[in-house]
């Protein structure tokens, strides 16, 4: 099998527009959901009320201990039986978001734990109301500490997004497979799809590493 430049250039626009658009939508949607939900989960898990923190903790443990693939199947093929109907992409975004929220919540937790005790004590000494202690003092510092790790999860979500093809979402990889099966040539479409991931993931990781270094100083 020899690389065919002409054909590669012919399928490139299609992969780039349709395929990559879906990948980017799934990644950004999943990441935004994972960041927001993860923060909520991190706060709920710190609740002093055990009937809140325990169940939330158990659900997150469950999500971390089962494959994303299985979760996607359940969301897409089982939930409609109970009356929840969503498009494949929406389901995929929710699946990615909820799955990774289980991980980002741990990142936030570490960020919150990393805020020095003195900051809490200063807040008490100034009689700051509890909600504002969180909003103006603890969370800004915790999120700043969490940013590099959260960035790594964006890259992880990006790389896991082809799994959505099992629930009929056609992303770059799905499209490449489609093109391949029509022409029985997989070399060009799959190579191009792989290169997309490489070209986006490497600069993103470098950016995150720079961010990490800047936060260290």
């Amino acid at each position: 099998m020899i690389w065919d430049w002409n054909w590669a250039l012919e399928i490139l626009p299609q992969l780039l527009t349709q395929g990559l658009l879906v990948t980017v939508q799934a990644t950004l949607g999943g990441a935004v959901l994972a960041f927001a939900l993860g923060l909520v989960v991190a706060l709920l898990r710190r609740s002093r009320r055990a009937y809140i923190s325990r169940p939330v903790g158990a659900v997150m443990e469950f999500i971390r201990s089962t494959p994303l693939l299985v979760q996607l199947f359940v969301l897409y093929y089982v939930l409609p039986d109970f009356g929840f109907k969503m498009t494949a992409l929406t389901t995929g975004i929710i699946g990615l978001g909820v799955h990774y929220a289980a991980y980002t919540s741990e990142v936030y937790r570490a960020g919150i734990d990393g805020v020095p005790k003195g900051q809490w004590e200063a807040a008490i000494a100034l009689n700051m109301p509890r909600p504002y202690t969180w909003i103006s003092i603890v969370l800004p510092q915790a999120v700043r500490r969490a940013l590099p790790a959260l960035g790594n999860y964006v890259v992880a979500i990006f790389k896991e997004s082809p799994q959505l093809s099992v629930i009929t979402v056609v992303d770059v990889v799905g499209l490449a497979r489609g093109v391949g099966s029509e022409s029985f040539r997989y070399l060009e479409p799959m190579t191009i799809a792989g290169l997309f991931f490489l070209l986006i993931a490497i600069p993103a990781s470098m950016l995150i590493r720079r961010m990490e270094r800047r936060l260290d100083t």
């Binding site: 004590e121 100034l126 009689n127 109301p129 103006s136 003092i137």
Partner: protein, 253 residues
């Protein structure tokens, strides 16, 4: 103003304060001295409600700090009660504890705005006056990380005063500073002490500062007061052998 009555504080098996009684009058300035681990800082932390007493009671301005009445029973204070009593007390920490995510002005205005509901413009006006007093007017928009230790501590003092406390607690406020920055912070505190009627409770290892600023010095050892008197008497003619040993050790250092 401040009344400790048989206060006991234990951390696990370690007893830090043993049935401690003492009283501080309004506008009185009291310095606590003594070896590390003698319970001085714990007293400030109890007053600031950063710790809870194991037993005994603390009163501030006639109000009980550690407990409250519910019906005719006395129960440990809840958050609402603590917030009420805490209004009267401010604290400056050894490690400054400025908020690194806010500029200097915001560090000073955040609590008055959020805790007292002061309008932001009014809080900023007050903050700028306080910054002038601590001679940092030009640093209003700087971030804490851009300031020297001495400057950070002066901001922390302004921040505490912005809440207009009646009692100010100073916890080894110059211990974390480079030697050349110590005197600036000390003279600022001296000026504040003389020009206000703040009740001051100060933990320090700087004996000259203690002599300058206080009406009364309490010598602590092992969670109890071993000597109590005006600074001239404590520093010049201590009665207790324990005090003499301690002062000797500090002067030799």
């Amino acid at each position: 103003m401040i009344q400790f009555d048989k206060v006991v504080k234990r951390f696990g098996d370690v007893t830090v304060l043993r049935e401690l009684d003492f009283h501080v009058k309004p506008a009185e300035r009291v310095t606590l001295i003594g070896p590390s681990g003698s319970g001085k800082t714990t007293i400030l932390r109890l007053l600031m409600t950063l710790e809870r007493v194991t037993s005994g009671t603390i009163e501030v301005d006639g109000q009980c700090l550690s407990h409250m009445k519910r019906g005719d029973r006395t129960v440990p204070a809840d958050e609402k009660h603590l917030r009420q009593v805490r209004k009267k007390i401010g604290m400056v920490f050894q490690q400054f504890n400025l908020f690194p995510n806010m500029n200097v002005l915001r560090n000073i205005t955040e609590a008055p705005v959020r805790a007292l509901g002061v309008p932001r413009e009014q809080a900023e006006e007050k903050a700028r006056e306080l910054l002038e007093m601590v001679e940092l007017s030009d640093k209003a928009l700087a971030h804490p990380s851009q300031l020297s230790g001495g400057q950070q501590q002066r901001v922390a003092i302004a921040r505490a005063l912005a809440m207009e406390p009646e009692v100010l607690l100073l916890d080894e406020v110059t211990s974390a500073l480079d030697p050349e920055l110590v005197s600036g912070v000390q003279s600022l505190l001296r000026d504040i002490a003389r020009s206000s009627n703040l009740t001051l409770l100060c933990v320090t290892h700087e004996m000259n500062f203690a002599r300058d600023i206080s009406h009364r010095v309490l010598m602590f050892d092992q969670g109890q007061i071993v000597e109590d008197g005006p600074p001239e008497q404590i520093f010049n003619e201590p009665e207790q052998q324990r005090t003499r040993d301690f002062l000797q050790a500090v002067l030799d250092a």
